[in-house]
Each structure stands twice: as structure tokens, then as C-alpha cells.
């Protein structure tokens, strides 16, 4: 089959479509006005949700009735936890602002590149977040534990050992396969896009 035939078919289809399509303007008007939440795309919704983390965090503290006791441990814990939480929250806000800059009226490749770069940013911050998380967890525990009971028996060390093991394995698999591979793919995509943009 020759391409010209296909083009003719397309033109016929296009003509039929124009003749047979009509809009119900009233229902359309209602949809445009009554569904503002649908005006956000999924990337922005995801990014927006992560900026709500302080509310979730405070609610959890209130629901679980977590008691803080002002002591040296509390201040050490606060010193470890607060800067990390503040930095990661700042990344979330920045990511959210970047997603708001996405404008679908831009050329297709520009959007592809922006989204790939956004994903790279997200992966990079996730990677650092993973590395900082143990310190933040220790900081938070120091804030809520009033004294550290040191006992080296099997029963108290086993849960701690299991937690560390799970955490290390999760970090290992995330970095070795998923994040690294995705990062490589994104860099490749960005290179290809830049190549396509050049003459």
C-alpha cells in the first residue's frame, strides 16, 4: 500500500470527523467550571501532596500522643532531626514549584526534557533523603526517648538488628538497581532530546 493512499484515507476520515462531530456546550461549560481540581495534572498532584507532610507529621504526633521531655537528649535529637526535615521539606516545596512551571503549550520536546529533568531532581533528592534518613530517625528517637536503656541481651538486640538489616538491604537494592538504572535512562533520554533539538 502506498503512502498516498493512506494520506487520502486520513483526509477522508478527517472530513467525516468534522462533519459528524458536535459539542454539547452546556455540559462542557459545566465541566470546565465545576471541576477545578481536574485542572491539575498528576505530577502536580503528587508533588502537592508531599508538601502536606508537616500536617501529616503533626497529626500523627497528636494522635499517638507523643510526649517530649526537655533534656540533653531532646536537644541533641532536635539538632539532628530538624535540619534534615527542613532540608527535605525545602526540596519538596522546590519540586512542587518546578512542577507548577510545566506549561503544556510548550513544544513537545521541551516538556519531555523538563519532565525528565524533574524526575532526575526527584531521584537525586530521594537518594540523599535515604542517606539522611537514619540520622533523622535517630534524632527523632532521641527526642522521644527519655533515657537510653543499655542492655546487650539477645531479646533487645534482635529487633534492632532486624531493623538495620532491612534498612541496609532496601538501600542497597534501591541504589544498585532501580535508582541507578532510572538515572542512566533519564540521562540518555535527555541526551537524545538535545540531539533532536539540534540541527
Amino acid at each position: 500500500m502506498e503512502l498516498l493512499e493512506l494520506q487520502n484515507m486520513w483526509q477522508e476520515y478527517d472530513k467525516r470527523l468534522s462533519e459528524n462531530t458536535r459539542l454539547n456546550k452546556e455540559i462542557l461549560r459545566l465541566m470546565l467550571l465545576s471541576k477545578p481540581q481536574k485542572k491539575l495534572n498528576w505530577i502536580q498532584i503528587k508533588a502537592g501532596l508531599s508538601t502536606l507532610s508537616p500536617i501529616v507529621f503533626v497529626t500523627l504526633l497528636l494522635v499517638l500522643d507523643v510526649q517530649f521531655k526537655i533534656s540533653t537528649y531532646f536537644y541533641i535529637g532536635l539538632g539532628l532531626f530538624l535540619p534534615i526535615y527542613a532540608i527535605t521539606y525545602f526540596w519538596d516545596i522546590r519540586y512542587f514549584n518546578l512542577t507548577r512551571d510545566i506549561n503544556f503549550s510548550m513544544p513537545v520536546l521541551s516538556i519531555k526534557k523538563t519532565i525528565a529533568e524533574l524526575e532526575k531532581y526527584k531521584i537525586k533528592t530521594t537518594r540523599i533523603r535515604y542517606l539522611l534518613m537514619p540520622i533523622a530517625i535517630i534524632g527523632f528517637l532521641l527526642m522521644i526517648i527519655h533515657s537510653i536503656p543499655i542492655s546487650f541481651n539477645f531479646v533487645s538486640l534482635l529487633p534492632l538488628f532486624l531493623i538495620i538489616l532491612v534498612f541496609i538491604s532496601s538501600m542497597y537494592f534501591t541504589f544498585k538497581y532501580s535508582i541507578y538504572e532510572r538515572f542512566k535512562m533519564l540521562n540518555k533520554d535527555i541526551d537524545e532530546i538535545e540531539q533532536l533539538e539540534k540541527e
Binding site: L3, N24, R29, M31, N103, E199
Partner: protein
């Protein structure tokens, strides 16, 4: 300053005149009729969202193509179905099944099947080409350089020609 009502009217007129572009793109980037309807809703909402920012520095069709393609390429299909706001014409709904059944219009279905085999960017390029856009316009809409558009179109043509021959023989 344009009033809200006037803006709405203007938007609806533009949409009415260009609904064909949206339907064709949505169909190319969807697997099912429901997906297509959802995608048409998403594209329309994205167009409405960016309409206020549209300053007329490009052709209206360029703006519609860009928004429609970007939304289609970056949209995740939802399970929840929106209300059908357009009558992709009673005839059109019928004609979709009619296209499949009638020998003379089954060809557009074949064409869509061939297009579906292409990657997202090539799909966009060939849709723009079939709609009669020039290399300059395709380059402007996609951001692919004019030289690369030409090279790609030649490759896609060959690919579609082969695929169409196979599909027709099947």
C-alpha cells in the same frame, strides 16, 4: 480586559472548530474508547487552563497540537470515568464500530493500528504530517529540528508502508 463569559465563549468556539485535532490525537494515544473519552476531557481541561496565557504568538492550531500532544504523552489513564461532555457525535460513536465493519472505512482503523506501533514522538510527527502540517510547523510544535523532522518522516513513512501492507494482508 476580556470578561469571563466572553473568554468562555471564545474558548468554546475555538474548541468547536478544532475538536477534530483533539479527537484524532486522543484516539492515537488511547487503547480503548473510554480511555479516549478521558483523554479528550483531560486535553480540554489543559487547553482551558492555558487559554488565559495564550497570547496569540503562535497559530491557534499550533497551541492546540502542543497541548493535546503533551497531555496525551504525559497523561495517566484513570479508572474513574468522567461524564461524557461531547457527543463525539452519535454518528461518530456509531461510525467507530461502523469503521471497523465497513470495508471502505476500515482503512482508517488500519492506519491507526500502524500508528500505534510507533513510539510516542514518531506517532506525534506522523499525525502532524498526515494532518497536512509543513516541516516548519511540525518542528515548531514538537521542538524537533526541521532537518530531523525530514529524516524521521522518511523513516516513519517506510515503516508505516510496511506495516500497512502486512495489516491489509492479514
Amino acid at each position: 480586559m476580556m470578561t469571563d463569559n466572553r473568554q468562555e465563549e471564545q474558548f468554546l468556539d475555538i474548541l468547536e472548530k478544532n475538536i477534530g485535532i483533539i479527537i484524532k490525537i486522543a484516539r492515537a494515544y488511547s487503547k480503548t474508547v473510554h480511555d479516549k473519552e478521558d483523554l479528550i476531557n483531560d486535553i480540554t481541561l489543559e487547553l482551558w487552563k492555558s487559554f488565559g496565557r495564550f497570547k496569540g504568538d503562535s497559530k491557534i492550531s499550533t497551541w492546540i497540537y502542543r497541548v493535546a500532544l503533551n497531555t496525551s504523552m504525559n497523561s495517566r489513564r484513570k479508572k474513574e470515568k468522567d461524564k461524557l461532555f461531547f457527543l463525539d457525535d452519535l454518528k461518530q460513536v456509531e461510525s467507530q464500530s461502523w469503521i471497523i465493519e465497513q470495508p471502505d472505512s476500515s482503512h482508517s482503523e488500519i492506519l491507526y493500528q500502524c500508528i500505534d506501533e510507533l513510539n510516542q514522538l514518531n506517532k506525534a510527527i506522523i499525525l502532524l504530517y498526515l494532518d497536512g502540517n509543513s516541516y516548519d510547523e511540525i518542528s515548531d510544535i514538537t521542538g524537533v529540528s526541521k532537518t530531523n523532522v525530514g529524516t524521521r518522516i522518511n523513516r516513519i513513512k517506510e515503516q508505516i508502508r510496511n506495516l500497512a501492507t502486512i495489516k491489509i494482508e492479514e
